[in-house]
Amino acid sequence: MLNEPDSFSDMFRSGIPYILLIALPALICCSPVMASEFEVMSMSKFDVNGQHFGSRVSSISLEARSLYSWNTSRHCVLTRLINLSVNDFDKIRQGAGGLIVMLPRNILELDVEVKEHITILEQEMLAHTGTVPIYFAPFNINLETIIDDITHTTFKAFSQNQTSVAQLITSVSANGYHATVGGSSNVANKNSKIPIIYGELAPNQLLLKPNENPVDGQKLPVILITATLKTFGVFNEYPVNSDVTVLLALVEMLSKLHSTTKMAPNYRLLFLISDTGLLLNFQGSKKWLEIDDNSALQNVEFVLCLDTIIESISSNPDMAIYMHVSKPPKEKTSISHFFKLLKSSAEKFAYNITVEGVHKKINLADTKLAWEHERFSIKRYPSFTLSSLKSHRSPSRTTIFKDDETRILEHTLKASRIIAEALASFLYKMEPTSSIFDGQFAIKEENILPYFGIKSVLHNNDVKDAFEKYLNNVKIIYDKADSRDPDFMFYNENDVKLNVYRVKPAIFDIFLTILIGFYLLIVFLGIQYFPLFYNIVSKLTRDETSQQTNGHYTERLKYK
């Protein structure tokens, strides 16, 4: 039992420093508790032709504010996608410190105008280099509460004409939120590559007429059918790939037709799929045109490109097919012939589909091409694009959202049928009124449904397997980004989490310190004056018990 008066300092001399040496690092290692955590997706980042898209900055550690109350770059805007307008987005892009957008719970439930608005906003986001980090959060009820809270606080603070005292109280009692996204720096993926797959549907050698030798098969005119596979949109998610679905349906059907019919087609059919078209300026087709030995391209009848043949999000229940060309086709050319076939096949098999031609000249001054066929038109191949969209500026081309899947499926079936019929009529020089894809050749739902699951040319070898099943000379080539002057570049993305902490403003802490100070003062005085209290209690006891007291009260009588 130590009883020295300086035992306190003794302890410091002996044990405490060593204990602290061990305890302090251990304490510092105990990281503070994590708050509400949310999954977020970063906005897609990529470079095309030296232009940056998406934000280079990735980490956020800022005060979360609502759309209506942010004003400096030290605020991170937390809002719903449906509340964000293009104008707001432009301001945030230039001034705020970050943007976190919560996606709607169910895109199907939204109004037509809202859907339209979302796609326009999406296009706007994809059109600019952002300096602020942008994240998308899937719908989450907790995040919704937080968004409501910050919006509500703002309204309370600004809606009424309050006195300065009331505003002070509001600011002290207000709940602040601090948003943190721990994104590591984005590293450019030096191995960025775009896979391109192509294959040929050659005329069946056995069915060739005996007087033709097989070599002649190589000299037949070529019809090239291309589609691009959308692999990402405004964030890293897989959009609907109706183009590839239609293309694979065509591959399947025409291949079946080739292997059974006694008619030898007069054309070679080439199919080409590349990853990511519009957003990457159709790099895939460009690469293919560069590498191909041109033997296939010596005698091109026409190039058919598919682009957004079905709108993945649409307000219009009817569908339309537009044939986009760079120069108006002359009479008697194969394109104008095909256009007529397409028109009559549309009339015959689907009543409410309009087929129209749209002419748009190639603007070489533009950094980005409008349609895929322009890549081929520049090389003077007769080419056109089939699309459900009238304008190349339509925001539906890049949207990641999809609504009613039954509508998409139904339209895909219709589009496949119309194009297949028109193509078959063209190949076999048949009357447009004959219907080929009926009975055993009918394009059925179960045929095309699996193709919707395709996510990339390389994903699970799905596309490769399908091509190899029906086509010959299937090859996959890669367009690799040049190491010095890359045409395109992708960025590595990590899974990131958004943490939202409930915080109080600094003024609140000071306020609290003052309150605690008062409390401590009261406790201090209470302890100081405790002897007085004790004396009173003692007197009470003495009066009660009326016992003899020796009156020996120490001055330092203290109980507590």
Binding site: M1, F8, D509, V523, T541, Q547, R556, Y559
Partner: protein, 228 residues
């Protein structure tokens, strides 16, 4: 929320220091005795844990979802009688004179409790970015616990005295029982009333004050009688 907030929470524990400094303990050099009292607290808690783990069915699922299980609480509080034994051990082992002996025991016990049961929570929680009132509430509650523990120490001391007025003996026993089974009746009452956390603290403070006053009343009588 920040280190500043942590500082605020720690500042709320200042009454412990005031008690030590201004009740004369510092002049007796009673620091080391307080540490010993804390050591006995740790020893008692370890024994309690051993007993709880050995003999009691720990139904964490029912206590986890905020339900108040009356019988489980009674069992748990019956183990808290070991706390009283711990206090008795401190009072018998640690020498001291008059009032300072009791304050040493109560303060040492309460300080050890605060450091062990609140320390990690405050360090990890209050320093974190997320704000919560719970840390301030817990610190305020510790102040109530300080009063509570000093009264308990006094009650134990009174209980062990033979020269206590016989008429007061049952009262002391009742107060001790009330203190030990506070976990049952007070928590149960608060649970039934479902009042807010701030009011809960206020009620606890009130109860501690009442028990403290009764104790003080009995103690002052005895203290005058034996002349300390």
């Amino acid at each position: 929320m920040t280190l500043y907030h942590f500082g605020n929470c720690v500042a709320l524990l200042m009454p412990y220091y005031f008690t030590y400094k201004y009740s004369g303990l510092s002049e007796y050099g009673a620091f080391w005795k307080c540490v010993q009292a804390g050591g006995i607290y740790i020893f008692t808690q370890l024994c309690k844990m051993l007993v709880l783990a050995t003999f009691f069915y720990s139904d964490t699922s029912s206590t986890g979802n905020g339900e108040f299980n009356f019988f489980a609480e009674i069992f748990r509080c019956s183990v808290d009688i070991a706390d009283l034994l711990g206090f008795a051990l401190i009072l018998s082992r640690i020498p001291g004179k008059g009032h300072s002996k009791l304050i040493t025991a109560g303060l040492g016990w309460a300080t050890a409790e605060v450091i062990l049961s609140r320390g990690i929570m405050l360090w990890v929680g209050a320093r974190g970015t997320e704000f919560s009132w719970i840390y301030i509430l817990k610190c305020l509650e510790s102040n109530v616990m300080l009063v509570q523990h000093i009264s308990t120490a006094t009650l134990i001391w009174l209980f062990t005295r033979h020269d206590l007025n016989k008429a007061l003996k049952p009262l002391v026993s009742v107060l001790l029982a009330v203190t030990v089974f506070k976990g049952v009746w007070l928590e149960g009452l608060l649970h039934i009333l479902t009042i807010g956390p701030w009011l809960t603290i206020a009620v606890k403070a009130l109860v501690a004050a009442i028990i403290g006053f009764c104790t003080l009343h009995i103690y002052s009588g005895l203290a005058q009688q034996i002349g300390i």
